[in-house]
């Protein structure tokens, strides 16, 4: 089936099999491999994107469900060569190791900071608890969120 959706502000079309997830369509058909495929069952948050502004796991959304909707992926955050403040904070705080979880965490952290620029430590933990990271132990990710919030 043919779907039309807006990804990072631009209209895209893809020919999808009915069973394909939005994650598969983004990664394999639309040229947005930034969202990652770590568990493909909504447990790890590596594929987090904004669907009409709401944080979702792209692996749990069918490509067909995204037809006619707006999707923002990690590729849509930097502007004109400038990193988004959350991305810059991840770089500065040392929050990136292997980086496979990073795109999802950037999207989830930006979503949190959209709602609150100075979240408490408990709020940060809870907001990011759906995003698994195996390398960092999360400490520097929390630092990055605090840093980005403080700069906003």
């Amino acid at each position: 089936m043919r779907i039309v959706l807006r990804v990072n502000g631009e209209e895209h079309e893809a020919d999808c099999w009915e069973g394909e997830s939005l994650l598969f369509a983004l990664r394999e058909k639309l040229g947005f491999p930034g969202s990652k495929n770590a568990c493909e069952q909504g447990e790890c948050g590596s594929c987090s994107v904004l669907l009409d502004g709401t944080l979702v796991c792209a692996c749990l959304v069918l490509a067909a469900q995204a037809d006619g909707h707006d999707v923002t992926t990690v590729e849509g955050f930097a502007r004109g060569g400038e990193l988004h403040p959350v991305q810059q904070a991840f770089v500065d705080a040392g929050a990136v190791q292997c980086g496979f979880c990073t795109p999802g965490l950037v999207v989830a952290a930006a979503d949190l900071l959209q709602r609150s620029t100075s979240p408490s430590d408990d709020e940060i933990r809870e907001a990011l608890s759906g995003n698994l990271c195996r390398c960092t132990g999360y400490a520097k990710i929390f630092d990055a969120v605090r840093l980005a919030g403080g700069r906003a």
Binding site: W17, G19, R27, E28, F32, P33, G34, S35, K36, N37, A38, C39, E40, Q41, E43, C44, S46, T73, V74, E75, F77, A78, L83, Q87, Q88, F90, V91, D92, A93, G94, V96, Q97, C98, G99, F100, T102, P103, V106, D122, I124, R125, E126, L128, S129, G130, N131, L132, C133, R134, C135, T136, G137, Y138, A139, K140, I141, F142, D143, L147, R151
Partner: protein, 739 residues
């Protein structure tokens, strides 16, 4: 406290400076190309059919229906493996594709290449395999009495003790001093460790591209490019030069990418179809796609004087290696070498055995044998302190190893090993005071489950110290190559096949090159087998040390060459080796030369835990770590290794275990195999003990493994203190801590 550099200012500095990672900007933008992101025109998708049995004979295998499915370009079985049918890190005991039997759940049986991954999956379902299930060997204690899974004994004749019992991969005994020596007091215990998974987030992936001339390029997430090539080429029946392995972006490794996953499979499909073939495992398949941490049973007896000096440590270690050897021989030896912990032990009898079984294959994982024994021996030290009425930290200090002391293997510690300083530094860290009630449930055991308001919650403080070796041991020819090109424009290009697996070795290489060459404009060429010799494995906490040595030597040689030939482009390659090690004696476990291990690194940890003893729920409140790091090349990255390594040990203590029933994995998903989340991890306060290692370039030590070695032991120590329970098995289950 995390320091950060000026925002927006990306630079790579010299050794010892805190600088952001060079790969971080592309990673935060989603532009970094991991192996699973690779895509080329005309690419097919590969899929692997795996065994649903832990042990079975294959009666017949029929691919006729699968071949005719839509979109399918190839269906391959062991008949299609043109070269050697088996491979392995240490011994080639594992078939590329099952031949007439399967030895573990998830063993690869056949391959499909198709236009769409779903077509490949559906075609694989139509491959008819007639299995005759056989009784699986699943109990490591009974394995040595059951019929051999590998009758030919692959590990025999390699210089190890030739154990006549069936299913023994390696058996060794370390006899040190008077093995019957008695003390004033003795404490005993039996400890058990479950199977832990590396659970790297980037599943096994790669892309194989045929070159049109019979050769193949493999782009893969791996830890050691050259040893992949050394295993892949013979299976394909090709010379090494026809197989080029390239490092694709790696989404974490932790030991799980030392062994092959899709490398031979992808190359077979690509060569067969003459099309590029990509294979990406999903999470369930990933649990079958790599080796895990060995589950262990460990019997201990510690004898000491009334004053607390250790007299004799006696341990028997049993490790389940699963169906194939992988690196079980080295894990067994490491477990034995570090069994007694970082203590001076005048007499010891340490027996270590790794067995074959039909359980999931086990091999390398962060800590490599030392995790299991640290958990046991630190529990024993607490028990001993209790029996003697001595403060547990004082007991550890009283017995702490120092340079000049002799290990149970007879090796005299030559380099830096500040155990006592590390213990003191961790002991001096002050945890925050217990937070008053009432408080937000997110800061109570059970968290947002809102299961308690503080009633039934007890607090405990645990302490542990552990150590392990850096780099490869026991006579292995361990080296790393680096090549430096000084270009006409004044810049430099470095070639080094060291795998960037997330640990930050790219930054190390660039920092060293800048330091040595005195220029800013240095870049690291993509890692591959064709342009530079082997770097060895990104394993064993060795890559920083080895890459730093190789890049340093190559840079210095390049500058010398430039002096001889001013104005010309320079291209030199150098190989760095660490001080040579020698094997352990197969009868006594004693060193046969000056050393079996080149150097050591330690970590000490204090943990505060709260336990809801009504429900068996835990909350780790705070962790303080002091680590012996030699010299920190990049302090921010070192802290990151300590925090991340601690999290993996905490996971083993509290939640992580691959569960099996008759050898079948029953929890192969992130729904059922739990790893620590942002809500599980407490703040980790870390202190870096910088005492340079004299035999290492710039005095560095590896830093990845020590925190993982010790944090499991320290976390369980805190749970014991909170509950009074013995807690002899990890992961600790809620039932274990309900009072």
């Amino acid at each position: 406290m995390t320091q950060t550099s000026a925002p927006g200012k990306l630079k790579v500095g010299k050794v010892g400076e805190l600088v952001p990672r060079v790969d971080a900007p592309t990673k935060v933008k989603g532009e970094f190309a991991y192996a699973s992101d690779l895509i080329v025109p005309g690419m097919l998708w590969g899929h692997t059919l795996r065994s649903p049995h832990a042990h079975a004979r294959i009666r017949s295998l029929d691919i006729s229906e699968a071949v005719s499915m839509p979109g399918v370009h190839a269906v391959l079985t062991h008949d299609d493996v043109p070269g050697k049918k088996t491979y392995g890190l240490e011994f080639p005991d594992q078939p590329v594709l099952a031949i007439d039997r399967v030895l573990y759940y998830g063993e690869a049986v056949a391959l499909v290449a198709a236009e769409h991954p779903e077509q490949a999956r559906r075609a694989a379902e139509r491959i008819r395999v007639a299995y005759e299930p056989l009784e699986p060997v699943t109990d490591m204690e009974r394995a040595t009495e059951q019929p051999p899974l590998h009758a030919e004994g692959p590990a025999r004749g390699h210089g190890y003790f030739d154990d006549p019992r069936p299913n023994v991969v390696r058996h060794m005994v370390i006899r040190h001093g008077d093995v019957e020596a008695v003390g004033d007091v003795s404490v005993s215990g039996v400890y058990e460790v479950g199977i832990q998974d590396q659970a790297f987030l980037g599943p096994e992936s790669g892309l194989a591209v045929p070159d049109g001339e019979g050769g193949v390029d493999i782009y893969v997430a791996t830890q050691w490019l050259h040893v992949d090539r050394a295993q892949v080429a013979p299976c394909l029946g090709l010379p090494l030069s026809a197989v080029r392995v390239h490092l694709a972006g790696v989404g974490g490794a932790f030991g799980g990418r030392e062994d092959l996953s899709m490398q031979v499979h992808g190359a077979l499909l690509a060569l067969h179809t003459n099309r590029p073939v990509k294979i990406v495992y999903n999470r369930e398949e990933s649990f079958m796609g790599h080796v895990h941490r060995h589950p262990a049973r460990i019997w201990c007896e510690h004898r000491a004087t009334r004053e607390g000096k250790l007299v004799n440590v006696r341990m028997r270690i049993l490790l389940d290696g699963g169906a194939y050897a992988s690196s079980s021989t080295a894990v067994a030896s490491n477990a034995a070498s570090f069994a007694a912990g970082p203590y001076e032990v005048p007499n010891a009898l340490i027996e270590s055995t790794a067995v074959y079984s039909n359980n999931p294959p086990c091999g390398a994982m962060r800590g490599f044998g030392a995790v299991q024994t640290c958990f046991a021996s630190e529990a024993q030290m607490d028990k001993l302190a209790d029996a003697l009425g001595i403060d547990p930290i004082e007991l550890r200090l009283l017995n702490a190893l120092q340079p000049g002391d002799v290990l149970p293997t007879g090796q005299t510690i030559g380099g830096s090993l500040p155990i006592a300083e590390t213990i003191r530094a961790a002991a001096a860290l002050e945890p925050p005071p217990a937070e008053e009630l009432p408080r937000d449930p997110v800061r109570l055991p059970g968290g947002t489950g809102n299961t308690t308001h503080g009633e039934g919650v007890r607090r405990g403080v645990g302490f542990a110290v552990g150590f392990k070796n850096i780099a490869y041991s026991e006579g292995f020819d361990d080296y790393c190559a680096a090549r430096v090109r000084l270009l006409a424009d004044g810049s430099a290009e470095i070639h080094c096949a060291a795998a960037e697996v997330g640990q930050g070795v790219t930054g190390v290489i660039l920092q060293v090159a800048r330091t040595e060459l005195g220029i800013d404009d240095v870049r690291l060429a993509p890692g591959q087998t064709a342009t530079v010799e082997s770097a060895g494995s990104a394993s064993a906490s060795r890559m920083t040390w080895m890459a730093a040595g190789a890049v340093r030597d190559a840079c210095r040689a390049a500058l010398e060459e430039q002096q001889r030939r001013p104005g010309e482009e320079i291209d030199v390659e150098r190989i760095y080796r660490h001080p040579r090690t020698t094997p352990l004696d197969p009868q006594t476990g004693q060193v046969t030369g000056e050393r079996a291990h080149v150097a050591f690194a330690a970590c000490a940890m204090k943990v505060v835990a709260e336990v809801d003893v009504d429900l068996g729920l835990t909350r780790i409140v705070w962790i303080g770590a002091a680590q012996d790091v030699g010299r920190a090349v990049n302090p921010q990255q070192v802290e990151g290794q300590i925090e991340g390594g601690t999290a993996q040990g905490l996971g083993l203590a509290l939640m992580e275990e691959i569960q099996t029933r008759d050898g079948l994995i029953t929890n192969a998903s992130f729904t059922d195999y739990l790893i620590p989340t942002a809500l599980d991890m407490p703040p980790v306060e870390s202190v870096l003990i910088e005492e340079p290692e004299p035999s290492a370039p710039y005095g560095v030590k590896g830093v990845g493994e020590p925190p993982t070695v010790v944090s499991t032991a320290a976390v369980v120590g805190a749970l014991r203190a909170a509950t009074g329970r013995e807690l002899t098995r990890v992961p600790v289950r809620p039932d274990d801590i309900c009072l």
